[in-house]
């Protein structure tokens, strides 16, 4: 009951976005943003729903959803780490940081760990070059990181739930 009610509520937010743009096909990207914001990712059911509501073929929606890096078709883990791979971060040692995270937490870039605890993503540039190298841990930017600092912080982030 509770789950159904909350699902309804989330659906309403998506509906509101579509209504704001008069259910126009042009609103597709805005609507997908809205779905991802409230559901965390773009699931099949919602994509079909959007397809019906905006009268855009599902194939076209899939094309748009996979074209843009911001959209994800897979659910995210409990925690996310977004490592910036912008130029400034790259020349200041991102490759070493990336392999440290991969080795310590057995998760590949762009994937979610099997136990669903951690998603490791890479970003083209988060625009925090003044703080390079930088990582976004659960929405919070951490700057001037080293492999040791990152491993420590992600470790604590995951452990907090246990």
């Amino acid at each position: 009951m509770n789950e159904a009610a909350s699902k309804d509520k989330r659906r309403k937010l998506v509906d509101a976005t579509m209504r704001r743009y008069g259910h126009s096909q042009y609103a597709l990207i805005e609507t997908l943003h809205s779905v991802q914001e409230v559901y965390g990712f773009l699931d099949d059911e919602n994509l079909k729903y959007v397809s019906d509501a905006l009268r855009v073929p599902l194939s076209k929606i899939y094309g748009v959803a996979t074209f843009y890096h911001f959209f994800t078709l897979k659910p995210q883990g409990d925690h996310t780490a977004v490592l910036c791979t912008g130029t400034a971060c790259y020349i200041k040692g991102v490759p070493a940081i990336l392999s440290a995270i991969r080795n310590n937490f057995s998760v590949e870039a762009g994937e979610t760990r099997e136990d669903g605890k951690l998603s490791l993503l890479t970003a083209r540039c988060i625009g925090s070059c003044g703080l390079s190298p930088a990582i976004v841990l659960d929405g919070e930017i951490a700057g001037q990181i080293t492999p040791e600092i990152v491993v420590d912080r992600i470790g604590r982030m995951i452990q907090n739930d246990a």
Partner: protein
């Protein structure tokens, strides 16, 4: 609203500010926020209360102060004292010392070259206003330029001002703004649009983000003036979804402007109507290209189309559309207010005015700077930037992101403008400037950018889709020490093909990082190919022969 009315709002605001002896501003742009400047701000406020200085001290947030390397930054009375690296625990000392000597351990000298050498026009309000308060903007002649345009100038006169100012598009291409505006003005259409390109996709660039976070009203005002000049009634800001704080502040600014009648129907009581809407980008570098950006606003995959027709004639939904970058719009209101002649007096013969750069990489003073065109790279890197971290040796400065090139030390005394950067195989770009030291391998850097272009290529045209992937493979072979001189020749040939046959700017410029590194750092390529060595020690090269011995 009449100008008297909004001047009054500004003045009341100013008076409110001046009623306090000490205005303590805390930088609340993204870089400082990520270093907990919000906590610093809260702590300062509670310290002011605790120490009973509520009558004399006022705490407010402010836009980017520029020196991101030393964040979070706190300034008192706009520069009377400047503190860097402030932690919440330092708040007590700062408030205690407010009417005495500044806190030594946190102080940053305000006359350091980083601040003294800059000329601020597009960033004029960054760091001295609260980006979330309209009154602050009005107190600094905000929206006066718009009002003057609407009431005293014809659209052609506004365009004429832009032509005279010599302003060129700041998104990277450097197309003359006045010319673009006049093309859209002359284009025939029942509707016209103005688009602000805030899809800052270059890795290593954060100018647009900082400007939107620090002074959103100046962008809104610039767009409205552009709308009046070209005859548009509707504007879009296409902004990266990855910039939540900038989106939030821009949204707030649009709402405030609508409420006070600076946007919407009959702006300032004139017949001119203009509104601005936000469209979120979704992380595709190619959407910085104008036709791809338009496709994205229309809700489609962001793929470019051949030009002509140019968006100025056939743009959003087929209507004439003006597209300018964030920094370009930030320059509009200062130009109208201070005059085209003032703007044209700064800079070089063909590149007028100032340029905002995002300094990053192996440099001491990373951050946001605005300098007059024609300044030398040496001044930027060694005076403003404070030199290389750890006293290492300078190797190259990279401008223009994945479309630009690496400039070596022999060109450090070159003047920075559109033409001279193009001459050395780079581009002005949107303003990202990454400094590299001796520990960076140029082959690796070229490979990094090609990896970027390869994955960001939209796939519509074959030269870019296939060419960037092949160039990446060749660069990979070189960096692994498995390439021959024949591969090197092939790489250079491919660069030529991709540059000349790609559909849009992404492919046409994708070869720049490779060509410029081959041109200036050929010896590094040869070391990888012939000696199977990476001089900087970045690339991992397996030595099979040695293992056998």
């Amino acid at each position: 609203m009449t100008p008297e009315e909004f001047k009054k709002i500004g003045e009341t605001h100013q008076k409110k500010r001046e009623a306090f002896k000490y205005n303590i501003n805390v930088c609340t742009a993204a870089a400082c926020v990520s270093l907990q400047s919000e906590k610093v701000k809260d702590e300062l406020a509670s310290q002011v209360k605790e120490q009973g200085k509520k009558e004399s001290c006022r705490i407010s947030g402010t836009g980017c102060l520029g020196l991101c390397a030393s964040g979070p930054l706190v300034t008192i009375n706009n520069g009377q004292a400047l503190y860097g690296g402030v932690k919440p625990g330092d708040a007590a000392d700062i408030v205690k010392s407010i009417d005495k000597k500044p806190v030594k351990r946190l102080e940053i000298p305000a006359d350091m070259p980083f601040f003294a050498r800059q000329t601020k026009i597009a960033l004029e309000h960054c760091g001295n206003t609260d980006p979330e308060v309209l009154g602050d903007y009005l107190a600094l002649e905000g929206y006066e330029a718009l009002y003057n345009c609407l009431t005293t100038m014809q659209p052609v006169e506004v365009i004429d001002t832009m032509v005279k100012s010599g302003l060129r598009g700041r998104g990277g291409g450097g197309y003359p703004v006045g010319l673009k505006w006049s093309t859209v003005h002359k284009a025939v259409g029942t509707k016209k649009f103005v688009i602000c390109n805030a899809d800052e996709g270059d890795p290593g660039a954060f100018m647009d983000r900082s400007m939107l976070e620090s002074d959103p009203h100046s962008i809104v005002e610039g767009m409205a003036i552009a709308g009046y000049a070209v005859g548009a009634t509707h504007g879009y800001v296409y902004i990266r979804g990855e910039y939540p704080l900038a989106i939030k502040r821009l949204k707030a600014a649009i709402k405030q402007a609508e409420r006070q009648g600076f946007l919407g129907k009959n702006i300032c009581g004139t017949p001119f109507s203009f509104d601005v809407e936000i469209r979120l980008g979704a992380g595709a570098f190619v959407c910085g290209e104008e036709t791809a950006l338009i496709a994205s606003i229309e809700g489609k995959r962001g793929t470019p189309r051949p030009r002509p027709p140019y968006p100025a004639q056939y743009g959003l939904w087929g209507f004439p559309t003006l597209i300018n970058n964030v920094e370009t719009f930030a320059n509009i209101s200062p130009i109208v207010r201070k005059g085209a002649d003032y703007y044209a007096s700064i800079g070089t013969e063909r590149s007028k005015g100032t340029k905002v750069f995002a300094l990053a990489g192996s440099i001491n003073n990373t951050g946001l700077i605005e300098v007059p065109m024609g300044i030398t790279l040496r001044e930027i890197v060694f005076e403003i930037g404070g030199g290389i971290i750890g006293g290492k040796k300078f190797k190259a400065v990279q401008t223009g992101g994945p479309s630009g090139g690496c400039i070596p030390d022999e060109y450090l005394d070159m003047k920075v403008d559109y033409e001279s950067l193009a001459q050395v195989g780079s581009i002005m770009g949107s303003g990202g400037m990454i400094v590299m030291d001796e520990t960076s391998c140029m082959v690796d850097v070229a490979k990094y950018f090609m990896d970027f272009c390869r994955s960001e290529s939209c796939g519509k045209c074959a030269p870019c889709r296939v060419g960037t992937a092949q160039m990446y493979n060749l660069l990979n072979l070189i960096s692994e020490g498995k390439a021959t001189m024949h591969d090197m020749e092939l790489l250079e040939e491919l660069c030529d093909v991709v540059r000349n046959t790609s559909l849009c700017g992404l492919g046409q410029t994708a070869a720049n990082p490779v060509l410029s590194t081959i041109r200036f750092f050929r010896d590094e390529y040869l070391a990888h190919i012939k000696d199977k060595k990476c001089p900087a020690g970045v690339c991992v090269i397996e030595h099979k022969e040695e293992a056998v011995l």
